[in-house]
């Protein structure tokens, strides 16, 4: 992979636009190899959604058939919402759209970064309330380690060794205007969600 080391305000780029395109193409190929094209992709807000769309487009190119894409908001299933003290801001709710029943389907959850695993734990809880899938799998663009729950991804774009204090920033043009992955000290930078 290209590590061109472009630095911007203490951030080091570890994936550029072209690298991301290759990575997504490879992830799509791995998904098709494992399960064929008859799957459903479900992107997790926020950046999982454009990622799922791009993977679906790639898979459709290879297999020639449409891939159903949904999106998931995991907020109501998070382990840090609820009547807790001290006071906190409740996260803003976003939409969940599953265009077809997930019963008996193979569903890929898609997210940008796999970190503690808590988001995926919440996503699994959400999926269970929507139906009984044949299987749920996980595809992530970046796995940065530091799991707090026994969760692993089935398809990983890039594995990155990080320390907890570091910040991994994924940019997707649909959300951020450009494509790329950066890593940095991340004291000041705050994750969007």
């Amino acid at each position: 992979m290209t590590i061109d080391g472009v630095s911007r305000s203490g951030l080091v780029q570890i994936m550029d636009e072209q690298g991301m395109e290759f990575t997504i193409a490879r992830m799509a190929a791995q998904i098709v190899e494992r399960d064929g094209g008859d799957i459903m992709l479900v992107g997790i807000h926020t950046r999982g959604i454009p990622l799922a769309d791009r993977l679906a487009a790639r898979i459709a190119e290879t297999t020639g058939s449409e891939v159903t894409v949904g999106r998931l908001d995991i907020t109501l299933y998070r382990d840090d919402v609820g009547p807790w003290r001290p006071a906190h801001k409740q996260p803003v709710l976003k939409d969940t759209v599953l265009p077809k029943s997930i019963d008996n389907r193979i569903v890929y959850l898609v997210d940008d970064v796999l970190y503690t695993g808590r988001t995926i734990r919440a996503a699994l809880g959400t999926m269970i309330d929507y139906g009984r899938t044949r299987a749920v799998r996980l595809a992530v663009l970046v796995d940065r380690g530091h799991r707090e729950l026994p969760i692993a991804a089935d398809v990983v774009g890039k594995t990155v060794a990080t320390s907890r204090s570091e910040d991994v920033q994924v940019h997707l043009r649909e959300v951020d205007g450009d494509d790329g992955v950066w890593i940095g000290a991340g004291e000041e930078a705050e994750d969007a969600d």
Binding site: G82, W84, P86, A87, H88, D95, G125, D129, Y130
Partner: protein, 319 residues
Amino acid sequence: MPIESAEALTGKDVVGIAQLDPGEIQLILNTAGELLEVAKRPIKKVPALRGATVVNLFMEASTRTRFSFEVAEKRLSADTLNFSASSSSVSKGETLVDTARNLMAMAPDYIVIRHPNVGAPHRLAEVVPASIINAGDGINEHPTQALLDAFTMRQRFGRLEGLKVVIAGDIRHSRVARSNAFLLNKMGAEVRFAAPASLLPVEVEDLGVETHLRLEPALEGADVVMMLRIQLERQGAVNFPSLREYYDFFALTEDRLALAAPDAVVMHPGPMNRGVEIDSLVADGERSLILNQVTNGVAVRMAILYLLAGGRGESTADS
């Protein structure tokens, strides 16, 4: 949307529309929009308020509001306790504050209160740490009803700003009318009250609404027509000569509805008196949003419960 959503509610309670700013109203409506979907899932329940306890303290008769709150609480996985005036110690002479302090000993996170006295929820909010939600206090406010009405209007028209909303009927005894007037004013809609003079509140000029003593001129070009229930139990036969006469002058009939805008909608907070303030043809007609209001009420109440779970929202723990 012209009014930007707030990031969080600033208070621990929702006691009235008067205490909410436009950004907070927008936040509640947006959140309700996402929660509406929960009712369409195969499993109509989410774990967001797991472990929270809600006391529903209803000191005045209510069916739909109480049920609506209870469904909202259960869909968020909260545990609910129901208290009603007739079965509680209040009928044995206990004061409201004492009742509430005793309830607090059971550590509820929320108290939903309906009370015949104006200001009862506000008083409770001062003396107990739980989040207080006003489900109607005397003739003062019914904030969750106004929010669900606004949500229903926004769902249909995509906006509140600039909508012409007629509220007609027993405005004097109506906390729904007051809360709606506060809310719609804050959100930039135009409110018109229509009622016989005997059913208008004395301080009506202070509410910043247009008032009409006949229904027809108020209906001119209206987008929303909200009919209020004639509170038969509060009429000592002094406010108007007869129900028949009231019907003749103030009921919403198909002919009268034709005066409103071509895509006007009809709303009613319920329970309806068919043939008194509203004609059955209108109530059941295709422009009626009356049952949408009931569905939306659950989502709006879920939104408030969810948002208040953040506490006062001054420090952040979102990551």
